[in-house]
């Protein structure tokens, strides 16, 4: 069975550092035989979560837009790679807007108890966070991790790994980073292999 990988690019800036890093990961996965698709959030139309909590009663979001179709897609693949640059110490508003819209899945899991991911399901579904930051601080990604944990938990993915590179301002871009692009490519191969093995077992 072919491993399916979905890359989600949360940068408003096309083909910048983060999307380039995501592309390298996806290329690695493709080279290992995965079926790869990339979604660019900038091209989609969706509004932020309204906090109306209607989903706590129905398990459905009252807002019908591109976010719902994307969550359907996320739930159907083996691996998601969620990418965002760090803006003001966090993920972009674009990606945060999408993640917040996953509230209806949280409601299904914890309020209505109509959605359940088994340990086996979670083990077979891998989520990765891909990010770059201009700052050279080590803690520059810390504000992003909890939101990533939220989306991976909500959609039934194991938080498999981070592919992150800081100090872009000094490197003058990801292409000048000594290891990041190669590491991302290798990670794409690695995770495809891991999932393939799990699917075969």
């Amino acid at each position: 069975m072919v491993v399916t990988v979905l890359g989600i690019s949360g940068s408003p800036h096309r083909h910048g550092n983060t999307e380039t890093l995501l592309d390298s990961f996806l290329d690695g996965a493709r080279s290992a035989g995965a079926s790869v698709e990339k979604v660019v959030l900038r091209d989609l139309t969706y509004s932020p979560c309204r906090g109306c909590n209607a989903c706590h009663k129905t398990g459905e979001c009252v807002v019908k837009d591109d976010a719902i179709a994307l969550f359907d897609k996320i739930l159907a693949v083996d691996c998601i790679a969620v990418a965002s640059p760090i803006y003001t110490m966090g993920i972009t508003a674009e990606l945060k807007g999408l993640i917040d819209r996953g509230q209806y899945l949280w409601a299904r899991k914890f309020v209505l108890k109509t959605l359940f991911f088994s340990d086996d399901h979670i083990r077979r579904h891998k989520g990765l966070f891909i990010s770059t930051a201009g700052q050279n601080w080590d803690h520059v990604f810390d504000g992003a991790f909890p939101a990533m944990t939220a989306i991976f938990n909500g959609t039934g993915f194991e938080y498999y790994d981070n592919i992150i590179a800081n100090n872009m301002d000094e490197f003058k871009g990801i292409k000048n980073h000594p290891t990041a692009l190669k590491a991302a490519y290798a990670k794409g191969i690695e995770v495809t292999g891991v999932i393939e093995k799990l699917k075969g077992s």
């Binding site: 906090g51 966090g90 972009t92 807007g97 993640i99 996953g102 939101a147």
Partner: protein, 204 residues
């Protein structure tokens, strides 16, 4: 003396817990006749997300024409800036994150173009307040929101030590904050403390 207060209500849900917290602080501030308050619900502010184009590093302004044309100037004029947000998915909600990211123009002005954000005589005479509510009862539920908030105030020339925080966890359903044992008192006291401090600094 007039103290200009600019308050951004960041929740997509109007009159929920974080906005109630904000309203308590504002009501306490409003008791002082020198205080002039403008409250801006971000649901009505028409602030687009940052496009990451970095044009502001050259132009000293944003290429987007939207609500930020108004709020950019108001942020500079205000003596006190408040921001409220609920915690969604362990972070600040997307609407206030959009406002914070659009403060990039101030960051470019300050660090790339090396131009002043506010006139020197107003430095140290502005205060910031961040108010948040969260459904979860975890003590660390606000941790990821705070660094973004610090960045926001930092680039508009409000120092870390001049930012006050009131963050209330374990309030989820609309109105839950009304039942909180200390939130209203703390908010009321915070409003008074901030105005007293501002008066002191502005008359210094």
């Amino acid at each position: 003396m007039t103290i200009k207060v600019l308050a951004f209500a960041g929740s997509p849900r109007r009159n929920g817990n974080s906005e109630t917290l904000l309203d308590w602080v504002l009501a306490s501030m409003a008791e002082d006749p020198v205080v002039s308050i403008q409250k801006v619900p971000l649901t009505e502010a028409n602030i687009n997300i940052c496009r990451g184009c970095n044009a502001c590093e050259k132009l000293n302004k944003c290429v987007q024409r939207d609500g930020m044309d108004i709020y950019h100037d108001k942020i500079i004029e205000a003596d006190c800036i408040l921001l409220s947000s609920p915690i969604y998915c362990m972070g600040i909600a997307a609407l206030p994150k959009a406002l914070i990211d659009r403060a990039q123009v101030f960051r470019s002005r300050k660090y790339v173009l090396k131009l002043p954000v506010i006139p020197p005589e107003r430095k140290g005479k502005r205060l910031g307040v961040f108010l948040a509510s969260a459904g979860q009862d975890w003590s660390y539920v606000f941790d990821a929101a705070v660094p973004s908030v610090k960045c926001f105030f930092h680039v508009i020339d409000i120092k870390n030590e001049d930012v006050s925080y009131l963050m209330i966890n374990h309030v989820d359903e609309k109105g839950a904050i009304e039942q909180h044992p200390t939130a209203k008192t703390d908010a009321t006291n915070l409003g008074k403390t901030v105005i007293t401090e501002l008066k002191k600094r502005l008359s210094a």
